[in-house]
């Protein structure tokens, strides 16, 4: 009978261990296995055109892959800065994660579309392969298609300048801006 009384304590001890472990891991760190690996291949429809695309469609590079969804409200906070980056010529590909494509298209119509293209990942399989923790997340894709960096959470100017801008030199940004076709 007595032993039963210790169950809550034991359960809490496990929880405390977990939380302690949680303190020493950085939730924004990429699992080491993914860094330096190519972007996992996939076969999913593009959000707007609905044609099936794969990882080879993510060109030009270097580029950002931004994980977003309409249910994620930090994505809305982040969105204006993505538009600014796109204007500066940074190629951004969207991974529309566990989302309703119709809503996603409405969102882009409302807020503006910073993405060169969008992977419609309605069931989250690409996200799973990529190890997505939640939205928003942003990955840096190197010139050779390899994942160089991962940022979890809202991308803003400070984060970009500190962690990401190294892969996008100013001249490259300007050059790319020149090569962007005018159409929406």
């Amino acid at each position: 009978m007595r032993v039963k009384r210790f169950i809550p304590l034991a359960a809490f001890a496990l929880l405390a261990l977990l939380l302690f472990k949680g303190l020493s891991i950085d939730p924004t760190a990429l699992p080491a296995a993914r860094l330096g690996q190519p972007f996992p291949d996939f076969s999913q429809p593009e959000l707007m055109t609905e044609e099936i695309i794969g990882a080879s469609a993510l060109r030009p590079r270097p580029a950002l892959v931004n994980v977003w969804a309409t249910w994620c409200y930090s994505c809305r906070v982040e969105h204006p800065y993505l538009l600014t980056l796109a204007e500066q010529g940074v190629p951004i590909y969207g991974l529309n994660y566990k989302d309703d494509s119709e809503k996603a298209r409405q969102w882009l119509a409302e807020l503006g579309d910073p993405y060169r293209l969008n992977i419609a990942d309605g069931d989250g399989t690409v996200g799973l392969d990529l190890g997505v923790y939640g939205a928003p997340e942003t990955y840096v894709l190197g010139p050779d298609g390899v994942i160089l960096h991962r940022h979890v959470g809202v991308l803003d100017e400070a984060v970009f300048e500190r962690d990401i801008s190294q892969w996008f030199t100013t001249s490259a940004r300007v050059a790319q801006a020149g090569s962007v076709e005018g159409g929406e």
Partner: protein, 659 residues
């Protein structure tokens, strides 16, 4: 000078808390009444000095003292004065001070209202609260000093308060929420005191019940306000996100809901004693866990305060001591003898047990969902996020499960009841509800919506239960006139809370099912029809606010020939941070909200606009307010006032004392 006075006051408060944690507890162990009687004075000391510290920080904010790091990081000379004040708790350090202030307020309240309780009980309760105060004061002083100065390089101006927080809702949301969070420390302290004293009886339950109701009521109101704020301030009309920080406040609420009901059984029938103690410990533990999750950075959330591992470790150690210590005490001291009081399966006890089971399981579900990413991460199984689909899929059926019992509960009898009697009581109301459930969805037009029918069925059932209970108590139909005195505050509060719950369910289902939204590109003169309303964009302008520049769009909303409203949504750019904010314009009414948010200027003179028609969305917050105020109303009950008199006092004496 002012920040230093504040810092000093905080240190003195810490010393008082040390005294409070040690002296009365020692007195209670030794039976030294002089030491025990010091408890209220020491508690008052903590309150006074924490108030001074709080006041000094408030003065620093109001005077734009940017030499104080917290002020420089969270305020700005252009900020309106009211937001300078509320900026105090828009950050980790200041909100922690608010936490401690409210805790000391609760301590003072306990010592004031418990004058008639045995002094050994009061001494233990206040001592336990003193220990909690030590933890939080040390947390503040050692890792998060709000009075830290930026010397010698004093910034010329502050970074400004996050524009999301520059809102009236955010002035009162955190204090209310903290009233609830921290208030749960009172039943916790009573539970610990009872375990220490080895007296877990009905009087213990009666003493902690009003405190629990008040804390839970504030928590309900705080969560309700948070949801309302998110709805109008985040600019896209959502009202609940299952964000880790929301869950952090929701878990103590769920557990508190179980506790409120379990205490009723323990007070009235003396059963579930060990379980009730455990719930009281859990409810406050979840408050503490919420604090940990929000401030340690183990989970990513947009709400999260700037966090660092040092703070996380501090709270974790504190958590381990408080929760681990109290659960150990529970394991050693909880009553092991099964109570000799019996009840049958068909009884009010069983119905309240269903409530307890459902709400405990719901808490565990939310806890698992919140911690799941952390678990997977800790075992290097990858990074996952469960998201709203998980919570909705599990939580909604659980709530649907509890509602059928909600109607029967208040009507049922303690100890032994019969299903035949329930059937007799509820047959007619039940049949009426079925008719409603079939008819009401037709009123909304469009195809018959099964979900709305379900919501009407369940909510209507709960409402019928309340009405039937009201009818019976009043003795209507008995021929002896109405017995108004039978409507005690406890009954009225319970009825309000149950009706509020039904309203929340109706609002949630209807707005989820019938919400209409449209994203458009609009120019001046454009017209759009939505939900039977005509929206015309009649003008665009630019206005300067105190610390921002706003683009405004003017919409005329009409229905037929009737002018409904002129709505002016804004897009603001805040000077100090450069942050863009969407200020939605809302025409609110009980049956529907019209919600307009501005997106981006797409081309010259044209804006991306989101129009939304949200039926019955107000019911969510109206229901939440009913739940919260209902809980507060119960405290007016006479049998709780009696507790402040001598425990032998008669009713007459108690009434005299209260007047």
């Amino acid at each position: 000078m002012i920040p230093e006075i504040g810092h000093l006051a905080l240190i003195i408060a810490f010393v008082f808390a040390m005294g409070l944690a040690v002296i009365p507890m020692w007195g209670a162990m030794r039976g030294n009444s002089a030491a025990m009687n010091l408890a209220p004075t020491l508690a008052l000391g903590v309150l006074v000095f924490v108030s001074i510290a709080f006041g000094m920080l408030a003065i620093s904010f109001l005077n734009d003292d940017f030499s104080v790091a917290v002020v420089a990081a969270n305020s700005n000379s252009l900020l309106p004065a009211i937001f300078k004040f509320s900026a105090l708790w828009g950050n980790h350090e200041g909100s922690l001070l608010l936490w401690v202030l409210i805790l000391s307020g609760w301590m003072a309240a306990v010592s004031w209202f418990s004058q008639g309780l045995p002094s050994v009980m009061v001494a233990r309760v206040l001592s336990v609260m003193g220990m909690i105060a030590i933890g939080f004061l040390a947390f503040s002083l050692l890792t998060s000093n709000p009075f830290e100065r930026l010397l010698p390089n004093i910034p010329l101006d502050g970074n400004d308060l996050n524009p999301l927080l520059q809102d009236p809702g955010l002035i009162i949301h955190p204090p209310l929420l903290y009233m609830g969070y921290v208030g749960l420390s009172v039943p916790f302290a009573f539970a610990i005191a009872a375990l220490l004293g080895g007296r877990l009886d009905a009087s213990w339950a009666r003493w902690s019940r009003p405190w629990t109701n008040v804390a839970w009521g504030f928590l309900s109101l705080g969560i309700m306000l948070g949801s309302w704020w998110a709805y109008y301030e985040l600019g896209w009309g959502g009202w609940w996100f299952w964000d880790p920080v929301e869950n952090a406040s929701f878990m103590p609420w769920l557990m508190g809901t179980a506790l409120v009901h379990s205490l009723a059984v323990t007070e009235k029938r003396g059963v579930f004693r060990a379980w009730t103690v455990l719930l009281a410990i859990f409810a406050f533990s979840l408050s503490l866990l919420g604090t940990f999750l929000v401030r340690s950075g183990v989970l990513t959330s947009v709400h999260a305060f700037a966090s660092d591992p040092e703070r996380g470790l501090f709270i974790l150690i504190f958590l381990a001591l408080v929760i681990g210590g109290s659960l150990l005490l529970y394991a050693l001291r909880a009553p092991t003898v099964a109570s000799r009081i019996n009840y049958t399966v068909v009884s009010r006890e069983s119905l309240l047990m269903v409530n307890n089971l459902v709400f405990t399981v719901s808490t565990i579900i939310v806890l698992l969902g919140t911690l799941f990413p952390l678990v997977m991460d800790a075992f290097s199984l990858g990074k996952y996020s469960v998201g709203p689909p998980y919570f909705n899929a599990v939580f909604v059926p659980l709530m649907a499960l509890v509602m059928p019992f909600m109607a029967i509960g208040p009507l049922s009898r303690w100890r032994e009841d019969s299903a035949a009697r329930w059937l007799h009581e509820l047959l007619v109301p039940g049949a009426a509800v079925v008719v409603f459930a079939l008819a009401v969805p037709l009123l909304f037009g469009g195809p018959f919506n099964v979900w709305i029918a379900m919501a009407v069925l369940l909510s209507g059932w709960v409402v019928m239960g309340v009405l039937k209970d009201l009818w019976r108590r009043l003795g209507a139909g008995s021929g002896y006139g109405l017995r108004w005195q039978a409507l005690t505050p406890s009954f009225l509060g319970m009825a309000m809370a149950h009706l509020g719950f039904a309203a929340v369910v109706m609002g949630a289902v209807v707005v989820t099912q019938l919400n209409e939204e449209r994203d458009l590109l609009m120019e001046v003169g454009d017209v759009e029809l939505l939900g039977g309303y005509r929206f015309e964009l009649t003008g665009l302008s630019r206005q300067a606010g105190p610390n921002y520049m706003a683009d405004q769009a003017v919409f005329e909303v009409t229905q037929g020939d009737k002018i409904i409203a002129t709505l002016v949504p804004e897009k603001r750019r805040y000077f100090a941070s450069g942050q863009m904010m969407t200020e939605a314009a809302i025409d609110a009414s009980i049956w529907r909200d019209l919600y307009i948010a501005l997106g981006e200027p797409i081309e010259a003179g044209a804006w991306a606009v989101r129009l939304q028609f949200k039926p019955m969305v107000r019911w969510l917050w109206l229901g939440g307010a009913f739940i919260g105020f209902g809980a507060l109303v119960t405290v007016a009950d006479r049998r709780y006032r009696r507790q402040s008199a001598r425990h032998t006092a008669t009713v007459a004496e108690a009434t005299g004392l209260a007047s």
